[in-house]
Amino acid sequence: MAQTSHPPLTLRQKLTQLWEKIATNRRLLPILLVVGLALSFLIPEFNLVNPYVQLIMMYVGINIILTLSLNLINGYMGEFSVGHAGFMAVGAYISAVLTTQIFARDLNPWLFPLAVLAGGIGAALIGLIVAIPSFKTRGDYLAIVTLAFNMIVKSVIENIEAIGGPRGIPGIPRLTTLPWVFIWTVLAVWVIRNFIYSNHGRGVLSIREDEIASDLMSVNTRKSKLLAFTLSSFFAGIAGALFAHVLQFISPKVFDILKSTDILIMVYLGGIGSIGGSILGASIFTILLELLRPLGMWRMVLMPLVLVLLMLFRPRGIMGMREFRWFVPIDDLEATRRWRARKEAGDAAASS
């Protein structure tokens, strides 16, 4: 056999080439989606993996929605919202009240999407209210507003007897299934990705870089903030609704500041301003917590240590400010490529 003149590729180079092929091949994405959707139906139908793993998969999906929606505010808009569990609570409670008290029990599987949607819309309306203080206050003070919002939501729920007060709502039917989680997750990724690369989304990005400058460049900052907050709280509400129907029991305690902290950790673990990062962060966090379960109490000690170490050695998180090429529009990729080529040409000219 004829020997090739090239030196044999190292494993690393081979892997890089493979990755390069996967990352630039956009046709894979729809195929993956179809395969994923089919799997999400087949797995519960034929019990391909045990129910515990299925449960974890659902949590991964819900956490991806949560992380993405918070990343919109904390990553893309550059604010520091610490009360995301509040929006989640609104969505969870609205949908749980609908499925346990208003909808007929036997119609529940059909009306479930409506309940989830209602949860999302309710949370979005509340998000509008929270967006208003963000026009004037920024930074730490806005963080306080969102924190106070989280506490107020919890406190209000505790004081309404009709929805169980501090005892919460028990006996929620388990309506969240793997296909539903998959569909909502894909929807969330799709909508948020398209929002970010739309005009409004770029307005949101410009607010992060410099609010005054973007205002001067005739970006309607108020509208962008309003949109970002509404969209973010909408998906938080959706995630809350799905979450309530997996857990089957909700109480105000579930949605306290600790839950918000969990979401924050997932966002910063994955990296701010990155859709791929959010997906990675949420998956890694959820799965790692489960894998470490044999450690018992020590896993909760180990987890924050991992986070601190990650922040020390990679302060921007796993994917901070970078993105999988699949999620970036082709025009943007082209622009980056041209920019890089020009820069290289410039560098070469300068050095010669």
């Binding site: 203080p133 730490d140 306080i144 406190s155 004081n159 005054i212 924050p304 986070l307 601190v308 302060p315």
Partner: protein, 291 residues
């Protein structure tokens, strides 16, 4: 009238604890412009140090207070050295997330050793006086007096000593001051030691007033103290004291004259309203933004 006086006293007691913790937040913020979210948990560790000293070493009140202050100050300085210093030039948010992580670590680490709420042994015998229908216990007086003493001491340190002058200078400009021969790292360590030992004092006083402690007690108290710091204007030491007392008064008065479940609701509502009218807190000054 007597209930009002009684509640004012309770409010002063709670407010002084909030104020002590808020001081720690505000000092660190003033110097590093970083929110030390682990501070609430250092408060909890302070309470646990006091508990350990009282249970296993049979220490009386003053030594266990000192033990807790020194222990937590050392812990605070270590945390700053290990976790915050490498991140000083990193994006601000990574430092905040690190602080959150450190806080969760402290909570869960304590939880491993003390999974159940612990009751602190009585360090001081409670004496109750009844003055015109108002019951005053010696603990209440002690808490208020110790807190106020600590605050006066801190104020003297910050306003009158050289170290305090260096602190104020660093919070003014972090890049020029080291060029004037001020040891930046040392001053930051001292700030952390002072702030966290105040938090430890608050923890000890809290453990005496409400003698059941658990690893998660620092979360809510810590966040509330942070709110107190913001209400007073974060970075402003006198503001933190005022904010702490305001929050204490609002909470106790709500609990006294309304169903107690509304306590958090009204307290945070007041905070939001206050932030609308004074977006930079009571004593805070808006920083002019350069374009």
């Amino acid at each position: 009238m007597t209930t009002f006086l009684q509640q004012t006293l309770n409010a002063l007691q709670l407010g002084s604890i909030y104020a002590l913790i808020a001081l720690g937040y505000t000092m660190v913020y003033g110097i590093l412009t970083m929110i030390n979210f682990a501070h609430g948990d250092l408060f909890m560790i302070g309470a646990f140090f006091c508990f350990l000293g009282a249970t296993f070493l049979n220490l009386p009140f003053i030594p266990s207070l000192l033990l807790s202050m020194v222990g937590v100050a050392m812990l605070g300085v270590t945390i700053e050295r290990v976790a915050y210093r490498p991140l000083r030039s990193a994006p601000r948010v990574s430092a905040i997330i690190t602080a959150l992580g450190v806080g969760i670590f402290l909570e869960n680490f304590t939880l491993v050793f003390f999974p159940y709420p612990q009751s602190v042994p009585t360090l001081l015998k409670t004496v109750i006086w009844n003055i015109g229908g108002v019951t005053i216990s010696n603990l209440q007086i002690l808490i208020i007096v110790v807190a106020i003493l600590m605050m006066i001491m801190l104020d003297v340190i910050v306003q009158k000593t050289k170290v305090g002058m260096a602190m104020r200078a660093i919070s003014w400009d972090k890049s020029v001051v080291p060029l004037m021969g001020v040891p930046l790292d040392l001053i930051i360590s001292i700030t952390f030691a002072l702030g966290t030992s105040l938090g430890a004092t608050a923890g000890t006083l809290y453990a005496i007033a409400f003698p059941v402690i658990d690893p998660y007690m620092g979360i809510l108290v810590g966040w509330k103290a942070f709110i107190a710091a913001v209400v007073g204007g974060i970075g402003n030491i006198r503001g933190a004291m005022i904010g702490g007392f305001i929050l204490g008064i609002v909470e106790i008065m709500v609990a006294a004259f309304m169903p107690s479940t509304y306590r958090d609701f009204v307290a945070f509502g007041v905070l939001l309203i206050l932030l609308i009218f004074r977006p930079y807190g009571i004593l805070g000054k808006p920083r002019p933004q350069k374009v």
